[in-house]
């Protein structure tokens, strides 16, 4: 079995890479992909801890997280298409309609 601290470090590193992607990149599609990275890092932690506790609940929750991620991807990409159609850009800095 893989050591727990290895799995948790991996989860922390992938989550942090996702955070960095959202902060650094200005392309909203790549920002969206970074959010998927963060979701997967959390899933990894759920699976690792669930198997250590001998409980199946961790896997069931990952199943639901994947369902929500699929719904989120469909809605998010719909919003991105809609924004692109109206503003002709996917650059987050150009979308300033709500800026005060």
């Amino acid at each position: 079995m893989i050591p727990l601290h290895y799995m948790m470090s991996l989860s922390a590193i992938i989550f942090a890479i996702g955070v960095a992607g959202v902060i650094i990149r200005r392309n909203i599609l790549v920002m969206f992909m970074s959010i998927e990275l963060m979701i997967n890092a959390v899933n990894l932690a759920f699976i690792a801890l669930g198997s250590r506790l001998g409980s199946i609940d961790g896997q069931v929750i990952v199943f639901f997280v994947m369902t929500v991620a699929a719904a989120e991807a469909a809605i998010g990409l719909g919003i991105i298409i809609s924004v692109f159609r109206n503003r002709e850009t996917v650059h987050a800095d150009d979308l300033t309609l709500l800026r005060w």
Binding site: Y6, S34, L37, N43, A45, S51, V68, A71, A74, F84
Partner: protein, 178 residues
């Protein structure tokens, strides 16, 4: 001791996750993301979560990533000439993310955390152990998830639908009057 398989897929996951955020071309970012997801699926299977690992490959690396790819093609995105954004933002973002990783490591990855493990029951992670839980304890959540997916499909179609162009649309005065 970390086995060779876990070390390989863990390293691959980190390298390809870095690839997602440093590639200039969105298609290359997406391909890196698919490699990350498949590495994570391999780690799931190594952790005795066989069904979830296979679902990860089919649903995540398959269906959701194809959706991303279609959107990239639809928007006809080109590679950025250079990664946009201020240098300060990049530097600050990297430092913030590193600090965040260190913090999470300090909290989560302590060797004495959860030192008393429970042995897995036989057949752990198979569909036989997953399905009864899903349809008893989590039945309400399961039904809610099905409604969520239905709403998401309807919402996505409603948002991405091409509205009549400005020329065909009625003048705003008439719209308000009617």
């Amino acid at each position: 001791m970390v086995s060779a398989v876990a070390a390989f897929f863990g390293g691959l996951a980190i390298i390809s996750a870095l690839g997602v955020i440093v590639q200039r071309n969105p298609v290359h970012s997406l391909l890196s993301l698919i490699v990350t997801l498949i590495s994570i699926a391999a780690l799931f299977i190594a952790e005795d979560a066989t069904v979830v690992g296979l679902l990860q490959i089919i649903v995540y690396a398959g269906a959701i990533m194809v959706l991303f790819l279609f959107v990239i093609w639809l928007l006809n995105l080109q590679a950025e000439a250079q990664l946009s954004g201020h240098l300060a933002l990049k530097l600050g973002g990297s430092i913030a993310a590193s600090a965040f990783a260190a913090e999470m490591y300090a909290i989560l990855a302590r060797p004495h955390l959860l030192s008393q493990f429970t042995a897995e029951p036989p057949g752990f992670g198979s569909i036989d152990s997953l399905a009864p839980k899903l349809f008893t304890d989590y039945l309400v959540a399961f039904e809610a998830a099905s409604i969520l997916l239905l709403v998401a499909v309807v919402g996505a179609v409603a948002m991405a639908r091409r509205l009549p162009s400005a020329g065909e649309r009625k003048p705003s005065g008439e719209e308000q009057a009617s």
